[in-house]
């Protein structure tokens, strides 16, 4: 029978000297697995409680409007250069790659449609989300983590302020507002980048490129007569991504332990967890939206 031993500094984690595996150690492993599972479920519960409280505090007083505006600047305005750059170059690469493929079918005139559909439905939200997760999520975790280890969170508590109301709610709201806004900008930068490549490299007139872009936007119809369905699909995702990034950052930041090293750990965990969650959730949202809009 094969056994996996977890080596640790605790003596009970070391493998036994003899080849006879003591039967009493098996429940120990199960117990540890059980404890680990409980901890994870508890963490998940805490995450959702944090999210619920953060949203709930948005509808009650006191509301920290100045903090919200400051966070909108920090999360949104300051992320603008990075989002513009990534969107622009992704659009250019998309046009370049698709021109090679479409040329074989003599369909290079559809580059605009392809770039627009890819950017608005998928790449725009995901790229903006990943960029914001890297820049803003890590920033939130580092900021709140530093506040935790330097007792500033405790200070807020003792000064009669709920840290979730003061620190988490403005960040979550700012992300809910600004990540969709950044996504729209990212979409536009990507489509614009695509237009430069298609006119300069592929030789498609700019007017034709933009006409195919608008054809694609109108292709799936409109909601409420004026709002293209593609836009709705492209804006639901960043709204959810904004919530994920800000809440993951706040959650890991507020739970930071272990001094400055702990701040580093919280930051890394935030970027990794938020990025993975974002991609997983993106798949499920896409499935749901395709089913809803197809019907």
């Amino acid at each position: 029978m094969a056994y996996i031993w977890l080596r640790g500094h605790r003596p009970e984690c070391q493998p036994p000297a003899s080849n006879a595996i003591a039967s009493h150690q098996r429940p120990h492993l199960i117990e540890r697995f059980n404890e680990g599972a409980k901890r994870r479920v508890h963490s998940l519960q805490e995450f959702f409680v944090l999210g619920g409280k953060a949203i709930g505090f948005a509808f009650s007083r006191p509301f920290y409007r100045a903090d919200l505006i400051q966070q909108m600047d920090s999360i949104g305005v300051q992320s603008l250069p990075i989002v513009l750059l990534t969107g622009f170059f992704t659009g250019m690469v998309l046009a370049l790659q698709s021109s090679v493929q479409l040329k074989t079918f003599g369909a290079t005139m559809y580059i605009g449609r392809l770039v627009a559909a890819s950017m608005i439905r998928e790449l725009g939200p995901v790229l903006a989300g990943l960029m914001v997760a890297g820049r803003v999520g890590s920033g939130i975790a580092a900021q709140l983590g530093s506040m935790r280890v330097t007792e500033q969170i405790d200070a807020l508590n003792t000064l009669g302020t709920d840290p979730i109301r003061k620190l988490v709610t403005p960040r979550v709201l700012a992300a809910l507002i600004m990540v969709p806004a950044l996504t729209v900008i990212n979409d536009f930068a990507g489509i614009f980048g695509g237009s430069i490549i298609s006119s300069a490299y592929v030789g498609i007139p700019t007017s034709l490129y933009w006409r195919t872009v608008f054809e694609q936007i109108a292709a799936d119809g409109f909601i409420f007569r004026y709002i293209p369905t593609d836009f709705i699909q492209g804006l639901i995702k960043p709204f959810v991504f904004g919530a994920i990034i800000s809440l993951v950052g706040c959650n890991f930041g507020l739970k930071t332990t272990g001094g400055t090293e702990g701040v580093g750990v919280a930051t890394t965990r935030t970027v990794v967890t938020a990025s993975i969650l974002l991609l997983v959730v993106d798949y499920f949202i896409t499935q749901i939206l395709l089913a809803v809009f197809a019907s």
């Binding site: 506040m147 330097t150 007792e151 405790d154 200070a155 508590n157 003792t158 000064l159 009669g160």
Partner: protein, 309 residues
């Protein structure tokens, strides 16, 4: 000081500070020396061993008439292992209670219990005759407004200026207008011997450790709280700054009659500022009494704890 407990309220010729003026007979004169180490030693003595004036000692509290402001009643707390076990003590209005003990004995936990950042497993905590153990979160926030807390590292908000830090509790919990807030901030900064015009617009990162601590005290007392809590207020400070902070705590008690709980293992400062000292060991309070009673105690642990002091 252990040799002469009464000495803390009188003068001790051996600890007379050097002076340029006339010197009392029989007082050894210390002359300034160019040797830096000697000068540093003199500065240390000035800070810690100079004779204590009556105005630098905590005011005496009338135990018959004063009311209980803080009470811990048979409080026990455990996480993975016991932190506190059956801890009880009371603080009368205007008293300064020093909680002393070795590291890791749960001293700071007592402050968290008083602030209701932690809830005891057993026992009750009273603040101002109100039991706080069963309070919900919003009510606990209200109780915390009666208290000012000074953290070990000052815990000033990095992103705010000194002015904004001190004004924070005023903006949160009072209806004072900006002029009144500025006047209050100036008053508190002056109380802690900081020049308001010089420091108000500075960020905490621009201040020295001692100044940060004093701003922390100013922020803690901004709302004129009834109770002040101090977590290791003198740790990591040089002797001069330690003396300054100690005198500040005494000044607060004498001039504003604030009830204080000070967690420290700086026993020298503890003897200067305490109305009563609680010594924690093995999760319990092993001694609770006046500094004089502590000095006079024959208990072996207390003698060892006081060491050479």
């Amino acid at each position: 000081m252990t040799d002469n407990p009464e000495g803390r309220r009188g003068s001790d010729d051996r600890r007379q500070a050097p002076t340029d003026g006339p010197v009392a007979p029989n007082t050894p004169i210390r002359r300034p020396s160019d040797d830096l180490r000697v000068r540093a030693a003199i500065r240390n003595e000035l800070a810690t061993d100079r004779p204590i004036e009556p105005g630098e000692l905590p005011a005496l509290v009338n135990e018959r008439t004063a009311e209980n402001v803080i009470a811990l009643d048979h409080v026990s707390l455990a996480f993975d292992e016991p932190i506190l076990s059956d801890v009880s003590f009371t603080a009368l209005a205007g008293e300064t209670i020093v909680v002393a003990g070795e590291s890791g004995t749960g001293k700071s936990t007592i402050l968290k219990l008083l602030l209701r950042l932690l809830v005891p497993d057993k026992g009750t905590v009273f603040i101002d005759d109100e039991e706080i153990t069963e309070l919900n979160f919003p009510d606990a926030l209200k109780v915390r407004q009666k208290m000012g807390m000074v953290f070990q590292g000052a815990a000033l908000f990095d992103s705010m200026t000194v002015f904004e830090n001190i004004a924070y509790p005023l903006r949160e919990h009072t209806t004072l207008d900006e002029d009144e807030i500025e006047a209050r901030v100036r008053e508190k900064l002056s109380f802690v011997d900081l020049d308001p015009d010089r420091v108000m617009e500075q960020l905490p990162s621009d201040l020295s450790g001692g100044m940060r601590k004093r701003v922390g005290v100013a922020r803690g007392m901004a709302n004129n709280p009834k109770i002040m809590l101090y977590d290791e207020p003198t740790s990591g400070l040089d002797p001069l700054t330690t003396a300054t902070i100690t005198h500040l705590i005494i000044k607060l008690q004498r001039e504003l009659a604030v009830t204080s709980v000070v967690v420290t293992h700086d026993i020298r400062s503890a003897f200067r500022m305490a109305s009563k000292i609680a010594v924690l060991a093995e999760k319990r309070i092993v001694f609770f009494g006046t500094p004089e009673e502590m000095s006079a105690s024959d208990d072996k642990y207390l003698r060892d704890f006081l060491g050479g002091f």
